[in-house]
C-alpha cells in the first residue's frame, strides 16, 4: 500500500515516538514574526536555553507594522516594544531577519515562498495559523502557539499528533470569473468550518494541478478556516518552475538532486486516504461571505439563507451582528471600505487581476474609479510584491483608479496596526477571516471575497458580481 506525501514527509522528519504516543518531529523551516515570539524568547532566556538551529529560523515584521508614514520609534509604544524585542532577539540569536529598515519585510507567508525558503518535502512551522499557506509547495506546514515556538527555538523539534489525511478532489473546469478564493470559500461552505479538525487536506485533481503557485497558496492559506491545520498540493513542474532561481533555492547539480527529493515525496498512486471527497469545479460561482465565520457564504447572485434550520443560534447571532436579513440578496449592499491584501490575496498576481479589470473597463469606456465615499486600500504582501507592482505599471493603474497603495504589512486583515474599520463599517475584503471585530472595530463587518470582487465592490460602492461589470451602460 502506497503512502501520501503527508506520511512520507512526516516519517522522514520523525525523531522518535514520545511516551505519550505523540511524535517528536524535526522542523525544517521555522518562520517567526513579532507577535507570537517575544514571550517564547523570554521563556528560553528564563531557562538559560539558546536557539539550537538559528540558521533554520527566519524572521520578519508584519502584523504591527504601519503601512504608511513609518518612523522609528513607532507611534504606538506597544508596537514599538514588539518590534524592538524582535530586533533584539534576532540579533542576539543570529537569526536572519528580513527587516523593514532594509526594505525586505513582508507578510511572513508571502515572504517565505518568494525568497525560495519554502520548499517541497519540508516541515514548516510558524506561530501563525496561516502557516498552512506553505503547503502549496508540498510541504507539511502548520501553525503553532508561542510555547511551541519556544520548543522549536530550543530544539528544532515539536511534539505533534499525527493527522489523518483527506483527499479533497476538485475535477472539471472553473468558469470564467471564478478565482482561487472562490474555490477556498466554496470548499469551506461545502465541508463546514469544523470538517478539517484532525485532518491534513491533500488538495488534488485537475483544478489544483492547473493552478499557479499563487492560486495554490490562496487555497492552502484558507484550509485552516475549514478546520484543517494542514493543507497541501503535490509538488510538480509548476512548483519547480516557481522555485528555480529564487534566493534560497538550490542551484546547479544541487537543483537536480532537490527535484529528485521533491518528486520522491509525492503521494503514491495507490496511497491510502482516511477520507476522500470530490467536487465538480463547474458548480463554483464567485462567493461572498455574509456572516461571522468563513463558512457563512453565498454565491454572489444568491439570497441570504433562512434563519431556521441547523445552527439557528449562530445564524441569528450572525444576522444581528452583520445587520442583514434572511431572504434578501447580498448584491447591491453598500460598502464603506475595500481592502485588497493579506497573506491570502496580497501577491502580485492578485493586484494584476485587479489592474486588468480596471484596464478592461477603461477600454470599454466605462467608469473605473473607486466610488465616492468608499475607502479603498491596496496593500502589497511584501516589499518584493510592491516593487513588482510598480515595475509592471499596476501600481499606477490602481492609484489612478483611486486605490490607496500602501507599504506592505498585514494592514486591515486584523487590528494590530493603525489600519482598521471604524464603527460598524462594512468592508469588502480579500483577507481570510470575517470574525466579529476582526478588522479592528468591535462592530466592524467583513465580507470576504476575491480581489476582483473586492475591486468591483470598490468601483461600484456596492457588493457586485464582477462578471456583470462589463455589461450595461458606461
Amino acid at each position: 500500500m502506497g503512502k501520501t506525501l503527508y506520511q512520507k514527509v512526516f516519517e522522514r522528519h520523525t525523531v522518535r515516538q514520545l511516551p505519550s504516543g505523540q511524535h517528536q518531529l524535526f522542523v525544517g523551516l521555522h518562520l517567526i514574526h513579532e507577535v507570537t515570539t517575544p514571550q517564547a524568547f523570554s521563556m528560553l532566556e528564563e531557562r538559560g536555553l539558546r536557539v539550537a538551529y538559528p540558521e533554520r529560523t527566519f524572521a520578519t515584521v508584519d502584523h504591527i507594522i504601519p503601512t504608511r508614514g513609518l518612523t522609528r520609534p513607532l507611534a504606538d509604544p506597544e508596537a514599538e516594544a514588539m518590534l524592538a524585542a524582535l530586533e533584539r532577539n534576532v540579533e542576539a540569536s543570529s537569526i536572519r531577519y528580513f527587516s523593514q529598515a532594509r526594505g525586505e519585510n513582508g507578510i511572513v507567508h508571502v515572504l517565505g515562498p518568494e525568497r525560495g525558503l519554502t520548499q517541497p518535502g519540508m516541515t514548516i512551522c510558524c506561530g501563525d495559523s496561516h502557516t498552512s499557506t506553505h503547503g502549496a509547495f508540498g510541504a507539511i506546514a502548520f501553525g503553532i502557539g508561542t510555547s511551541q515556538v519556544r520548543d522549536v527555538l530550543a530544539t528544532q523539534t515539536l511534539a505533534v499528533t499525527k493527522l489523518k489525511v483527506r483527499r479533497v478532489e476538485l475535477y472539471g473546469r472553473l468558469a470564467r470569473g471564478v478565482y482561487a478564493k472562490d474555490v477556498a470559500l466554496f470548499l469551506i461552505a461545502k465541508l463546514g468550518v469544523q470538517a478539517g479538525v484532525g485532518y491534513a487536506h491533500e488538495l488534488a485533481g485537475e483544478v489544483f494541478e492547473r493552478f499557479s503557485m499563487e492560486e495554490r497558496m490562496t487555497v492552502c492559506n484558507m484550509s485552516v478556516e475549514g478546520g484543517a491545520r494542514v493543507g497541501y498540493v503535490q509538488p510538480d513542474s509548476t512548483t519547480y518552475d516557481y522555485l528555480e532561481g529564487r534566493e534560497f533555492s538550490p542551484r546547479g547539480a544541487a537543483w537536480e538532486r532537490a527535484v529528485r527529493y521533491w518528486e520522491s515525496t509525492r503521494s503514491d498512486a495507490d496511497a491510502r486516504y482516511d477520507d476522500v471527497v470530490r467536487f465538480d469545479a463547474s458548480e463554483i460561482e464567485p462567493v461572498v461571505t455574509w456572516g461571522i465565520h468563513p463558512g457563512q457564504s453565498i454565491p454572489v447572485g444568491g439570497t441570504l439563507p433562512a434563519e431556521n434550520g441547523q445552527g439557528r443560534e449562530n445564524l441569528r447571532e450572525a444576522y444581528q451582528y452583520m445587520q442583514l436579513e434572511p431572504g434578501r440578496p447580498l448584491a447591491g449592499t453598500p460598502i464603506q471600505v475595500a481592502f485588497i491584501g493579506s497573506c491570502t490575496n496580497g501577491r502580485a498576481s492578485d493586484f494584476a487581476e485587479v489592474a486588468e479589470l480596471i484596464l478592461a473597463l477603461r477600454r470599454a469606456g466605462k467608469r473605473a474609479t473607486v466610488a465616492p465615499g468608499v475607502r479603498a486600500l491596496a496593500v502589497p504582501g511584501s516589499q518584493a510584491v510592491r516593487a513588482e507592482l510598480i515595475q509592471r505599471g499596476h501600481a499606477a493603474i490602481l492609484t489612478e483608479a483611486g486605490f490607496d497603495l500602501r507599504e506592505p504589512g498585514c494592514s486591515m486583515c486584523l487590528a494590530m496596526n493603525p489600519d482598521r474599520l471604524e464603527g460598524d463599517e462594512l468592508c469588502a475584503s480579500t483577507s481570510n477571516r470575517n470574525f466579529k471585530g476582526r478588522q479592528g472595530s468591535p462592530r466592524g463587518r467583513t465580507l470576504l471575497m476575491s480581489p476582483v470582487m473586492v475591486a468591483a465592490a470598490a468601483l461600484t460602492g456596492v457588493v457586485t458580481d464582477a462578471r456583470r461589470l462589463m455589461e450595461g451602460p458606461a
Partner: protein
Amino acid sequence: MSHAREDSATYDARTASELRRARITGRALPLLGDDIDTDRIIPARFLRSVVFEGLGEHAFADDRAALRAQGGLHPFDDPARAGASLLVVGHHFGCGSSREHAPQALYRRGLRAIVGGSFAEIFFGNCVSVGLPCAQLSPADLARVFALTSQDASLELSLDLTRRELEVGAERFPVSLPEAARVAWVEGTWDSTAELASAAEETRRVARSLPYMNEFLTETVD
C-alpha cells in the same frame, strides 16, 4: 470588575507535581455558542504586548462590551460567576488564529479547565502547552451540563481526568480527550521542552538525513 487570578502560567522550574492537572474542581462558567473564535476570546489589539501578563481581564472584551451596551450581562461579567474555574463551551471552541494568548487569557482569568462539545486543533494544542485541560462531552451530555450549570451558579463541578469523568452536583458524565494530552495533564508532563531537548543526538541524526539540511550538496534520497 476584575477577578483575574494572575497565577503564573509561565514556566519556571516547577516540579511535575505542581504541573499535575488530574482533578479540577470549582464552579462553572457556561458560555453558549459554537465556533467561538480566538479573536473573540482575546481581540487582536490586546496582543500588542511582549508579555502574557494582564491578558486575563481582557478575555471576551468586545463581546462583553457589546452586551453591556445592550443592557445585557456577559457570563464573564456575572457577579454570580466570579471565581468560577470551569468553562463550559459549545462546539469548535477556539477556532481561528494560533494565538496562545487565547488560552493564556482564560487561564489568567482564573479558569482551570474547559469542557465542551469540541475544540479547534491549534487552540487545543495551546491548551496542552499552558496546562489548561479541555475535555469533550457528548452533545446530549453537553446540553444537560449547560442546563444544570445555567440554572445554578453555585453548583460544584469536578473534572477528573484520571477517571475521564465530569461530576456536576450529583450527576456524572463521561468525557473524552486525546490520550497523549490526558497523560500530559495528569502526569504534569505538558511542558515539553525538556523532553524534546533530551533527544538532541537523535535530532541531529534526522537533520543530517534530510537532503535540504545540507543544501542538497549530497544525495541522501533513499
